[in-house]
Symmetry: D2
Subunit: 385 residues, 4 copies
């Protein structure tokens, strides 16, 4: 009997990070894929990831509405609690042989606890990294709840083992998001104008024929209350620089409402003739957009990870990605519109693009499926010291 | 302004473990105590800890009913989820400067997550220990969510630091349960007959004048389904040995219903002329009972910790306490009625009692209050490697 | 395509009340049965109805753990809330064409709201009755949420219509519990001794050869806090009268813990040589037991309904059944041990047994399936005045 | 001791409906006000009612985040469930002598159940009305859970009594929203331009000097899926008619996301030079706006109730208000842009304004406080037939 592998996806970006692994699991003769879509991945205003997922041919086994509205710290905790309560019913129903949880978003600990408490082996993807903010706590707490660790880099593996996990339970597979980056790079060249038209979005008609930049900026949860100020710096930089800009709305998170609101307010008060706003894109479309862009601005992990592999220049703002290994593509700046603008101008002039394999070589999906088919699945563990 | 310290107590044994710290916090001029009673600490059939707590003069600020009935793995997860959702409201209301979570019971991760997600500094008591079962995962996950670590032993401190916590955030205070043990030892001798009469209980009238044993056996969560079998071995050993026995019902936990049911079934089918059953006792009464007993049998941590300090002989059964440092008082045996009976006979004959200070010297409560008043309270942390 | 009919069963007695309807739905060519087992119907200490249900050949589609422990008024509300949250997921998953909710237990309003809010036609069984207590509020609130009403008696139909429901949506089918009573009466005579042996239970060996009585007493939710006192009167009456007695534990409810505790305490302090205690029985076994008994004592609706049809003498205590139509079999008494004892003695001497068809003629199950197959299923309704 | 009256407000419009009663309760020597703000009344994107409430001098005792995001039928049920679970804790904490629930929004049944199950007398404001949609079921179910009924009109009183409620428990106080309308009418004339500037909003600069119309359109829950189509008709009518328009966003509800999205999409594709959009306004400001307008369009109850008293012309679209008594100010039309446009033109030309006292005379707040101070507060009730 194939092993039943239950993957819980809670957000649009998590889907991109796992998609090639989903395909590899589905294709593997010794594995059976169970797919649970939860949290903001079900919500329209965060890009309706479930539509993308279904349109790409995946069958969704269960949906878990769990986000309590408010987008503050209280509702982050509440959402996680209700998600935990529901996911336990889901796992009781689906009876998987292993559960996969992805990375470190606040709500992912619900998946981890439900699996751990129900004695289902827990597989964690993307442990062992170092960033800032609450993600840091979530990520390592999930590591301590997990039984198998599929990490992106050697550095991450070392950290997971240092935390007391058994070396035999740690596998460096690279990050599946890099697989997509490889796919995007190896694909036929795209007509960017046509691609953008598919998505609609709101804002100015931006002429991308002479290059454009991509912006993606999320609130930082431990700096709650500052989201508004932070995004204003970026908005100002982009407006003053008059860069042709494609801007993506933030993930659901404590603070994202502030960010969205600031953007909306800014739009009402300033003519933004150089910016078009998008909610979501299919992963490959988004990667093609990056490949063809002059660079990415903000604090998304895409700038650090996929863009390292792709060699796309990045201006990384603030503390959200601090601690992550960087490729040659990144310039770090503070929340300061002048500095942001300056960094865009400088870094995005570069014409040389170097591929850095820090987060994988583009075969993570298959490696993950292989580990899932063969690894010992046990729920017993102890500190190694 | 004094720092507001919010302590969440979720079970009867956790109260014993923290009581002297509660008193020291309440008495400290720079601290203000906020007390939340939750989970099985509110429930009659697990000893109604809240009554004990109030009768000992503590004011309860909030009550959180969170245990979903079923006592299986699904309901453990659900209970934790609902507890998390409620505790976030409680913290939003009480606005503490720090939250204290105790040890490693399954539901305690709800306290930890609620505090961490709400950017409230989290203090963890009794991290860094090694046992078996799901507690192991919970304990270390809570360590990764916590900002300040108050541990029982040097060994525990080393482990917490090895997991990547900053050494400055780790304090060896000893375990407050040892403070109580010291209090009990230093108190006037007690009339055990009179003490027992206060508590009623059910079962045979046991003559304790020639010595007696105490039994306390909990289900082991990762061995779910075996609880029934495990407790039968102990029941058989106790019945065959005809030891005058005071038996305490187990905590609420996946499996505890099985344990309770087995005990009830056994009672219906066998005359247990040597056993009286109790639900709960005030901590000091219980410790006096231990001091005056010939020894303790089962898998309670009391046998390993308090009894190490007190030098009370213990027969520890099965895997629940494996990995914990042991004093000279402990003999370990498997789930086997003959072995249990034999170990009771052998170990409880001993008349020499050695105090081992493995888990503290009896001043933990005051040390904890001191740390809480002075330690830096921050929510920012990263792996130290 | 057959209509998918989703039945939610939340307690042992509800199962008895609906069983013949379940069979008729399952057998009907135009209907498909979906079965959800929830609340105390999943719990061991309330008779583990799910085991009975599965052993009688029904396939359970979903299980919903929802009872928050505490058995007080707060946890009744909480349990209902969590049940509502989970049932909405269940209905979203199963997509029934109609949902059936049974009678008036506190948690059943969760079923009613989930269906109503999700625009699924709601069928209510046993509306329009009058009792006391919170059940009264629940029952009529569910009527106002329901689209189709399947009632037990003409009297009930009149009341439902008076409340503003359309007469075309009200059907007098009788109560399916009477179908079982008919089955039991028409079955082969049973060997009561053998029947009882199957169930174990606890307490004295009761000699039933010269007749016996059955006791079933539930707490009354609006008289919360008095449950203990109330059950003591009955215990005393039974003990003083020394009637050979088969006593059944109460349902989960605010107060049931008090009731159970009182019974346990009474047992510890008084030799109850004439009472054996049972948790649960298969419905037909229980009805055979009633048919062969000298009468039933307490405040169960069985005494009023099934026993009216069967003509089994009943002593009904207190306010719980007030307002319900009574057959010739019932004597009402107050919470008073002398009065209870006297009523038992008087009423149970009677040898004439009259069948009163107040609650149906024993064909309710089939009538219900017929209505479900043919009735208009709509969610739009308004007051008729 | 004054009676503690706990009022639960779950939405912006509910606050307007209750404000004068809040003031009267607070001012009454025999009453003490407890205020709980919950659901969409806490949320920024539904007008952040809590800010208005606090800015108007009320102290908020508890906040209950309960809206699960998704704005579909599943999440309406879930939100209600989680709200019920939390409100029970709140009532356990605040221990009110009576709880007030307002009208018939889906989440208000959570307040009603929590109070009823906890044996707290429940006071329902605005029962006995007839509309369409799920509100109809909610409203009457709450009536059956409530102990005291404070209704707006004689017609409503008759209906409540017909449903089996005791006449002594029904009081015709009028609707407190009419009190505000009276206040607004009796206030000094306002400078509408200055008033509007305070609120910002988004969209075109609308010249209101020659008259303007107000639009407020909510989704109809039983017509889920059509919200998008319905609002388009109104948008089209308003655009074609080029009426100077002040448009208010809808309440949180299944479908409101669709409505908001449609509006946003329409705005992106059509220049709306005659429409400005607002989120929320202080009740008196909003009423002044209505008094000075040429009329109101949509399906808000304000058009039916307050505007009857004020004599402000209204074009009421679709089924949402069907069944409500109408004053001379209303014209009803279907979802049809031509009909809507035509009705606006015709009805808003009228210069005669008649005050109809269908929903009260403007003293409801004081009458309500009086009843609360004097009425018998009991939780026992039965059908009167």
């Amino acid at each position: 009997m194939p092993r039943k592998i239950c993957v819980v996806i809670t957000a649009r970006p998590s889907y991109s990070r796992i998609r090639t692994a989903l395909e590899a699991i589905r294709a593997h003769p010794d594995l059976e894929l169970q797919l649970v879509i939860a949290a903001s991945a079900l919500l329209d205003r965060y890009g309706n990831a479930i539509n993308v997922i279904e349109s790409e041919g995946f069958k969704v086994d269960r949906k878990v509405y769990m986000i309590v509205e408010g987008e503050n710290l209280v509702t982050s905790a509440k959402s996680t609690g209700f998600g935990l309560a529901e996911l336990s019913t889901v796992f009781d129903d689906l009876r998987p042989d292993a559960v996969i949880t992805i990375a470190d978003r606040f709500e992912t600990i619900a998946t981890a606890i439900a699996a751990a408490y129900m004695n289902i082996p827990l597989v964690h993807i993307q442990g062992g990294e170092v960033t800032g903010s609450i993600d840091e706590k979530v990520r390592h707490a999930v590591t301590k709840l997990a039984d198998v660790h599929l990490v992106s880099s050697d550095h991450a593996a070392t950290r997971v083992i240092s935390m007391g996990e058994r070396p035999e339970s740690v596998f460096v597979t690279g990050c599946p998001s890099i697989d997509l980056a490889r796919e995007a790079r190896e694909a036929e060249p795209r007509d960017i104008d046509a691609l953008l038209k598919q998505y609609g979005g709101v804002g100015a008609d931006v002429d991308v024929s002479n290059g454009y930049i991509v912006v993606m900026q999320h609130p930082v949860t431990t700096e709650f209350g500052l989201a508004q100020k932070h995004v204003l710096e970026t908005l100002t930089a982009v407006r003053e620089g008059q860069f042709p800009t494609l801007w993506f709305w933030p993930n659901v998170d404590a603070g994202s409402d502030q960010t969205s609101k600031s953007i909306r307010a800014f739009r009402e008060h300033h003519a933004m003739r150089n910016v078009h706003f998008y909610k979501n894109m299919k992963p490959l479309d988004f990667l093609s957009l990056l490949i063809n862009s002059r660079g990415i601005v903000g604090n998304s992990s895409v700038a650090i990870r996929e863009c390292a592999y792709l060699g796309v220049p990045a201006v990384n703002i603030g503390s959200r990605q601090s601690g992550r290994d960087r490729g040659r593509n990144v310039i770090d700046v503070d929340y300061d519109h002048a500095a942001i603008r300056e960094a865009i101008t400088t870094n995005f002039e570069r014409t040389d693009r170097h591929s850095d394999l820090l987060y994988g070589d583009g075969t993570a999906g298959e490696q993950i499926a292989d580990v899932l088919a063969k690894a010992e699945l046990t729920i017993e563990k102890r500190l190694t010291y």
